[in-house]
Symmetry: C2
Subunit: 164 residues, 2 copies
Amino acid sequence: MAADRTNPIRETDDEARRLVRGLIATARFGALAVIEPGTGMPLVSRIAVGTDAAGGIVSLMSDLSFHARALAADPRASILVGEPGRGDPLAHPRVTLIGRLEPVEPGAAQAEGLREAWLDQHPKARLYVGFADFRFYRLALERAHLNGGFGKAYVLTPQDIAAA
Amino acid sequence: MAADRTNPIRETDDEARRLVRGLIATARFGALAVIEPGTGMPLVSRIAVGTDAAGGIVSLMSDLSFHARALAADPRASILVGEPGRGDPLAHPRVTLIGRLEPVEPGAAQAEGLREAWLDQHPKARLYVGFADFRFYRLALERAHLNGGFGKAYVLTPQDIAAA
């Protein structure tokens, strides 16, 4: 445990930056938080997660999902990635990626190569990637909360996370 | 895929009810969505999850965590449980439990036996369950969104989920 338990945020260092980059690069799914239209409730659901050629955090979602409908009304979102292994789940590193999750318009520069990169990372998505109600989203990252295990909390900027 | 893809919510049946009860009974961790004070951003983080003697959904959290601070300002929350196994992570059942997540006051009827039940389910928590900044929370469940796999979405009531 950190010496000062009332202020558990540590100073960001290269180890924290590398850890977050690794969690993002290897993520294939995660938990998405959005705000539900009408009620204002925070809703969490499982989504597929991947990266584009620029290292950006992307997802593929159906327009029919609760979360896509919520994002259409309010793009503010966060995504938790980093899955636990054996032992205490809270001892395994995970990161909350906070920002705006918005559709990638077909034809936009960010759309180029996205489908191929996605299918490399998610081969089973070939079954539904072409459905009319599915589209890609990209996270405009504002900050990240890393929890590297008990007493190891960090707040990172997009600059911290951009590939070195 | 369901025949009517524009209305993907199915009618709740006993199989859906059993599936949600099973996901709750076996959950040891999950993803919590809360609303961040000040910014209003939806924040997701990993928490430990368990059940009390009445089958209620409980957690043990530090007052120092981002999510505990958020809940102190606004108890509205949802918790995702149901971990993926092999294959496409989106093919595995998971449920979003929606309601208010509030501290269990020591001495309240709901506190009785809670510590022992928690330690049965989370033996490693013995290391920190006694820390002054840790406390138990219980979810006052309002509804649940079950995703039983592609095209298998359900909305359940607390009555659907209460043990048969």
